[in-house]
């Protein structure tokens, strides 16, 4: 496992683009958060951390490229020859990608919080719920990375995989916003990976949200685990 981790780390480190993508995660998250913070809104933590909605797309590119890139170049055959136990290969990849995403997430969320403190009309105090929202947002990015990795393992092709991931993330909230039925709206918010996961950012009127903060992040965790599980099974059962 240690060697597999080392191999994955070397690959991630040396592929052109990884560093740029991590920088983009931070820049876009902080940038959009700064924009929304200057626009203002009801829930300061949610407003200040809105950039995560955009940053997650770059995290998804990072994770999808890590897997689909190998299929695109045929590298996957070498990877699986070096690490024949496929679960180990997948876990190692997951650890490295999630770790990179979390690291970028920490910087991005920190930047977003600082921007929000400066730009929100009422500022942003780092009290309990806001701290939870910030920490949850970092974990959210990590889980999105794992979900993307799982999907990429199943789909293999980069464009299709990213299409599926962004569809999963962005479609549910749009459909939810356009259905008029309140029960159905709530149900969609509860099962959607993005809206459920981002309920960890709620700091105002928490009791009336469709999901409790950590339970919401749990829903996203379940999506990620499910995707990785199916991905692992598929990876085991088919040729490279």
């Amino acid at each position: 496992m240690r060697l597999a981790l080392h191999a994955e780390w070397t690959k991630a480190r040396t592929v052109a683009g990884t560093a740029w993508l991590l920088v983009a995660v931070v820049a876009l998250t902080v940038g959009l958060s700064a924009l929304t913070s200057s626009a203002g809104g009801a829930d300061p933590a949610k407003v200040g951390l809105t950039g995560v909605v955009l940053g997650q797309a770059i995290v998804a590119i990072l994770a999808v490229s890590a897997m689909s890139g190998e299929y695109g170049t045929g590298m996957i055959a070498v990877t699986l020859a070096a690490v024949p136990r496929r679960w180990v290969a997948l876990c190692a990849k997951g650890c490295v990608i999630a770790g990179l995403s979390l690291a970028a997430g920490v910087v991005a969320v920190l930047g977003a919080v600082l921007a929000a403190r400066a730009l929100l009309p009422d500022g942003l105090s780092l009290a309990g719920p806001v701290l939870r929202a910030a920490l949850g947002s970092v974990l959210y990015l990590g889980l999105v990375a794992l979900l993307s990795l799982g999907v990429a393992t199943i789909v293999r092709d980069a464009a299709s995989a990213i299409g599926v991931v962004l569809g999963l993330l962005y479609l549910f909230p749009i459909v939810a916003a356009l259905v008029s039925d309140p029960d159905w709206y709530r149900r969609l918010q509860q099962i959607a990976p993005m809206t459920a996961g981002l309920s960890v950012q709620a700091t105002v009127d928490v009791a009336n949200q469709p999901l409790a903060p950590w339970a919401g992040l749990g829903v996203l965790g379940a999506w990620a685990a499910g995707a990785l599980l199916v991905g692992g099974v598929v990876l085991r059962s088919r040729g490279a």
């Binding site: 999808v64 299409g163 569809g167 159905w184």
Partner: protein, 499 residues
């Protein structure tokens, strides 16, 4: 000394590769890659299925204060089929043939800007029947309105115009307003073709529900409720074929009535005479609701359009392609033409299936579906095709520049879908949300708007209800400008760069 060898030269005369041949080559590529064809079919399927999700997962609760049934949720239809509100208090008499009525509206109390009090001529007392009216309003001065959708402002939006006159001669109705009852100015002249000889005419008062919308995460929520306006009319003068005595009729409304003493009429009215605007407090579904799936279908189309070019780079096919067709601008044009046409057909088929199928599901669940003209329906369906085409070509152009599948799909989805998402379901206040839908390619979704905004109806007009800050054509043009810029950029990079 070595003998020079002349290399083989084909004796065929070199011919310029025709554009038709290029298009044919690209079309052959597209149709022979099974994944791409399947991707387009998937786009059609998810458009319809996601659209069906809404009505199939919803249920209509029909419990009013009086135990109303779902049937009563069906609003009346105006003369042109538009769903309308037609509830007001009417103090009326039958009028046969020509005639006129003059009145002074001495007071109108009711905070709503669109509370209305004035004179009305109507083809009977059924909700939805044709009418013409001249009125004073709570905050928009004197107006002449007829048949629900038409509205003409009076000589000035001044509260000094208290005198109103409405005359009928044949099919022509003329509304006048005056400050003093002697000098009159015309507000509007209306021809109501086929108005019967006997109509109901008299005084009316109505006041629309108060609407206040607050935007929170996950959409807009509103508060409000019915309002009542009270108006005092005096100096009522009638002229012409009036019969019977004044009768108070509550048309589809409650909590109203009138009293008369010494020629002074005090009338309380509630409701509205106006087209229905989807949104807060309305239970109907509109055409946009049946096209929710377009977002899902669009993502599938974008993925295929991206792979149509990035796939060539990944497989190295691009070298063969460029060897066969050295004119790179022409190659890009051929690719754009093929993927744009395929996406257009996909969008039209997807929308043409969604609109009737989702509409049927909505009706089966008991929802009222706002009627729109066949022309509007066609425009929205063709618009979906154009939206697919424009964004597919955008994806192709971005893919040509970036040469990476994941990055291209993300960039285009983030540019097209995310602004819409942030506008309908995010923390953004209305102002910035509207700017997002004006300045990003997401403006293209405006092509779905099926119902017009009415200046004379105060409503929230949110994007989630199907109202966009740009016109349908304008939105498509904005998206098209992005595509044109990206395509130019793609042509330049493709020309400069090695395959």
């Amino acid at each position: 000394m070595t003998a020079t060898v002349t290399p083989y030269r084909s004796t065929a005369t070199p011919g310029r590769d025709g554009f038709a041949g290029l298009v044919r080559a690209e079309w052959t590529k597209f149709r022979t890659v099974r994944g791409w064809v399947v991707g387009m079919l998937v786009a059609i399927a998810v458009t319809v299925l996601v659209g069906l999700l809404g009505p199939l997962g919803s249920h209509l609760v029909c419990s009013g204060p009086n135990g109303e049934t779902c049937g009563s949720n069906r609003p009346p239809a105006g003369p042109d089929g538009t769903a309308v509100h037609d509830s007001f208090y009417f103090v009326q008499r039958p009028l046969t043939g020509a005639g006129s009525i003059t009145v002074r509206v001495s007071t109108l109390t009711g905070a709503e800007p669109w509370a209305k009090a004035g004179l009305l001529v109507k083809d009977g007392l059924d909700a939805g029947a044709r009418y013409a009216a001249v009125m004073v309003t709570g905050g928009h001065g004197v107006r002449m309105q007829y048949d629900f959708t038409a509205d003409t402002a009076g000589p000035a939006t001044s509260s000094e115009f208290q005198w109103l006159r409405l005359t009928r001669a044949g099919d022509t109705l003329t509304g006048y307003a005056s400050m003093d009852g002697t000098r009159w100015s015309t507000v509007g002249v209306v021809d109501l073709d086929g108005l019967p000889s006997t109509v109901r005419a008299g005084l009316f008062v109505t006041s629309p529900a108060h609407v206040e919308t607050t935007r929170t995460f996950g959409g807009a929520s509103g508060s409000g409720g019915p309002t009542v306006a009270t108006a005092t009319f005096d100096r009522v003068e009638t002229d012409g074929g009036w019969r019977d005595s004044w009768t108070g009729t509550a048309v589809d409304t409650e909590d109203t009535g009138f009293a008369e003493s010494d020629g002074r009429f005090t009338v309380r009215g509630s409701g509205d005479i106006a087209p229905i605007v989807p949104g807060q407090g309305e239970i109907g579904k509109n055409l946009e609701d049946s096209l929710v799936g377009v977002f899902a279908g669009l993502i599938a189309v974008l993925v295929v359009a991206t792979m149509f070019v990035t796939g060539e780079y990944r497989r190295g096919l691009i070298r063969t392609t460029l060897a066969a067709a050295p004119g790179r601008g022409r190659l890009l044009a051929a690719k754009a033409l093929v993927i744009g046409s395929v996406a257009f057909v996909t969008g039209v088929v997807a929308a043409a299936l969604s609109v009737p199928l989702v509409g049927m599901a909505q009706r089966a669940k008991g929802f009222f579906v706002y009627p729109v003209s066949t022309w509007t329906e066609l425009r929205v369906i063709v618009g979906a095709g154009l939206l697919f085409a424009v964004t597919a070509v955008l994806a192709l152009a971005v893919g040509t520049v970036l040469r990476r599948g994941a990055g291209t799909v993300t960039l285009v989805v983030v540019a097209v879908v995310l602004p819409y998402l942030m506008a309908v379901a995010s923390v953004l206040p209305t102002g910035p949300a509207d700017w997002l839908l004006r300045l990003t390619p997401a403006a293209g979704f405006a092509v779905q708007q099926s119902m017009p905004e009415y200046a004379q109806v105060a409503a929230s007009y949110t994007t989630a209800d199907g109202y966009f800050p740009v016109s349908p054509l304008g939105g498509l043009v904005i998206a098209g400008v992005y595509t044109a810029v990206a395509l130019t950029l793609a042509a330049v990079t493709l020309r400069r760069r090695d395959a």
